[in-house]
């Protein structure tokens, strides 16, 4: 990987102590209200900032913009590319053969010590600062106000494909049958709205790779995994500034 990823070892204190407390509080509030999550940074700094700024974790949780705040934690090292998630997604959401809503990418490192291969499931990150919804001229794609899912209103799609250009995660494709761009919506129409608790991919996964849940619920597994100091959690392409709601971890 060319880009520098933040690592614990290299982290230095940026001297926040010198910033007046009130200002810091405002700054973090704004950041967390916008992002709702710890995207981009390491958890260590994020969690400790939360402690500094909010009297209780309850106050912090209120800062999540959505309820439920749907998100997914991906346990990267557990993925074995059996692709049951892909078949489940395709059949549940009627995804045509030429497209996909989620994919499993493969990284091979012949010179690695130990395991020489890793699989990386990718899907729509349902970003809090979503590029696709910003660039859409007709609001055919939009953030759902209650749960934060990036939805599509196919009728309004003019097919300019700017959202495809804007997405840093290659999560969108043009569906010829729907005459609109199609993308992952965490199975909202096909499962969640019908009372199912998991997306098709998460429910099909035999290895516990895809953990789907509510980031605003302190009892939820995703919440608990994200809010751990010991666990390294990251998001894809943090430099794109999208504040994703799909997290990655190992172990």
């Amino acid at each position: 990987m060319k880009r520098n990823k933040p690592s614990f070892k290299e982290m230095k204190n940026e001297g926040v102590e010198n910033v007046p407390a009130e200002e810091r509080r405002d700054f973090l509030k704004m950041g967390l209200t916008l992002t709702g999550v710890f995207a981009g940074g390491t958890l260590f700094s994020a969690v400790s900032s939360v402690r500094k700024v909010y009297a209780s974790s309850g106050e912090f949780v209120k800062k999540y913009p959505y309820k439920p705040h749907y998100s997914m934690m991906i346990h990267l090292d557990r993925c074995i590319d059996c692709e049951r998630c892909l078949s489940a997604c395709k059949s549940t959401n009627h995804v045509p053969d030429y497209g996909f809503r989620t994919a499993v990418l493969e990284r091979e490192r012949p010179d690695a010590v130990g395991q020489k291969r890793e699989f990386m499931p990718v899907l729509c990150n349902h970003c809090n600062v979503s590029q696709c919804t910003r660039v859409c001229p007709t609001r055919a794609t939009y953030k759902d106000k209650t749960n934060g899912i990036v939805m599509m209103d196919s009728r309004k799609c003019i097919g300019c494909l700017t959202c495809q250009e804007g997405c840093p995660y290659n999560a969108r494709y043009f569906n010829e049958e729907k005459h609109a761009v199609d993308k992952c919506n965490f199975c909202f129409d096909t499962r969640l709205s019908k009372g199912e608790e998991l997306t098709a991919c998460a429910s099909a996964c035999p290895a516990g790779v895809r953990i789907f849940g509510d980031l605003s619920d302190p009892d939820n597994r995703v919440y608990r995994e994200v809010h751990q100091i010991e666990r390294a959690v990251w998001v894809l392409r943090p430099e794109a500034g999208t504040r994703p709601n799909v997290f990655y971890t190992r172990g």
Partner: protein
């Protein structure tokens, strides 16, 4: 034509017919060819809509924008450039730029229509745009602003042209000024369509909006020169000394703008190489010594900048053919610039930095038959309108002293 004379419908009809019948064989051949290109493009575009764009265009999920977007950008760049350069004379009152005004305004309408023609076949459901752009606007979308402002721009340019021909100079100046503002706003929004995409390193930043305006003016000078040269050939008239002088000023402006774009290009490339910024570096190196090196060095740098600069300089404003050759080269070069600009933002896959097997390499694209036909159709629209306009409006003559 004296605008104050009372005309009957018969007069107008015979006047128009007379003008349209006054040309040589070459002219009619060019009109026919242009019309055929447009018809072919309409056929290809409709065919694509019926059988599906995925079967007819070589576009992919990773490269959803191809030559049609590039062509659209090329035409709107040209139109904006024509508007801006021509406004120097008749809007801002620089006397020596006056004679090129009418034709340039007309051409800016012709080229934006060519752009709209092409984009209509690029967008998958253009009819939805007409409805939802109005009832469901997204004001954070640069595409929305660009579409809306270019719509406004087209209307203003049409009124400007109307008022210019009716010798209503005050109104023409008003429309021209507003049109120029709308054009700059629309065009910089087009730059922002690319520039504000955070995940696309090659495009991202304020550069695109600024570059697009400078680049538009450079294109404007080339197109003004090219079409004026051709117009006098078509109309078979010697160029008036005022026009020669006006084109000489355009030439000087062109030289300056080529230098500006050279400056922009040098820093764009340098910024993409120094420190090897992720995503941008790979794209810039693809231009410098990768699969797009010929496009870059021969077309963008050679045809687009260096050759015309030399020819413009050597012509001293007197050698018309040299200037014509220079501007023709420039237009070819600029088209490739737009093509590369659109493509290079997409060839580095979004997951490139993760070193996954699927996205280890640069992506590739080459336009399909349908795409090429529609692209040619765009040029057909511009050339058809230009040719008809020359005869219909009697060579866009601007009488001296008819302003303000």
């Amino acid at each position: 034509m004296d605008a104050t004379r009372k005309l009957t419908l018969n007069d107008i009809e015979s006047e128009i017919t007379g003008r349209l019948l006054s040309a040589g064989k070459g002219y009619y051949l060019a009109v026919l060819l242009s019309a055929l290109m447009v018809v072919a493009a309409v056929a290809a575009g409709l065919h694509a809509m019926v059988v599906g764009h995925d079967h007819t265009y070589n576009l992919t999920r990773e490269i959803p924008w191809g030559i049609l977007i590039a062509t659209y950008v090329f035409f709107v760049v040209t139109s904006t450039g024509l508007c801006l350069v021509s406004s120097i004379g008749h809007v801002f009152g620089i006397e020596s730029m006056m004679p090129i005004a009418k034709r340039s305004v007309f051409l800016s309408i012709a080229t934006i229509l060519a752009g709209f023609f092409v984009i209509a076949f690029e967008i998958k459901m253009p009819w939805r745009m007409a409805v939802y752009n109005i009832i469901s606007p997204n004001i954070t979308s640069n595409i929305w602003w660009m579409g809306t402002l270019y719509g406004l721009y087209l209307v203003l340019m049409m009124f400007e042209f109307l008022f210019l021909n009716l010798n209503k100079h005050r109104l023409a100046v008003g429309c021209g000024f507003s049109g120029a503002i709308a054009g700059i706003a629309a065009h910089s929004n087009l730059g922002a369509v690319f520039g504000l995409l955070m995940g696309r390193e090659f495009w991202h930043g304020p550069y695109m909006s600024i570059y697009f305006i400078a680049s538009a003016m450079m294109t404007g000078t080339a197109v003004i020169f090219l079409f004026h040269y051709l117009a006098y050939k078509i109309n078979d008239e010697p160029m008036e000394s005022r026009m020669v002088e006006s084109l000489n000023v355009t030439r000087k402006l062109g030289i300056m703008l080529i230098c500006v774009i050279m400056f922009f290009t040098v820093w764009k490339m340098t910024a993409g190489i120094a420190g090897q910024p992720g995503g941008k570096y790979e794209a810039v190196m693809a231009l410098v010594k990768g699969p797009y090196a010929v496009n870059f060095w021969l077309f963008e740098v050679g045809f687009g900048l260096v050759f015309p600069l030399v020819l413009f300089y050597l012509s001293k404003g007197k050698n018309m053919f040299m200037m014509f050759a220079g501007s023709a080269m420039m237009i070819i070069g600029i088209f490739i610039m737009r093509y590369d600009l659109v493509l290079l933002g997409q060839v580095v896959p979004v997951f490139h930095e993760y070193g996954v097997n699927e996205y280890k390499h640069l992506l590739s694209y080459f336009p399909s038959f349908h795409e090429i036909i529609i692209t040619l159709g765009g040029f057909g629209v511009a050339s058809f309108l230009f040719l008809i306009g020359e005869k219909l409006f009697g060579g866009h003559k601007v009488e001296p002293g008819h302003h303000h």
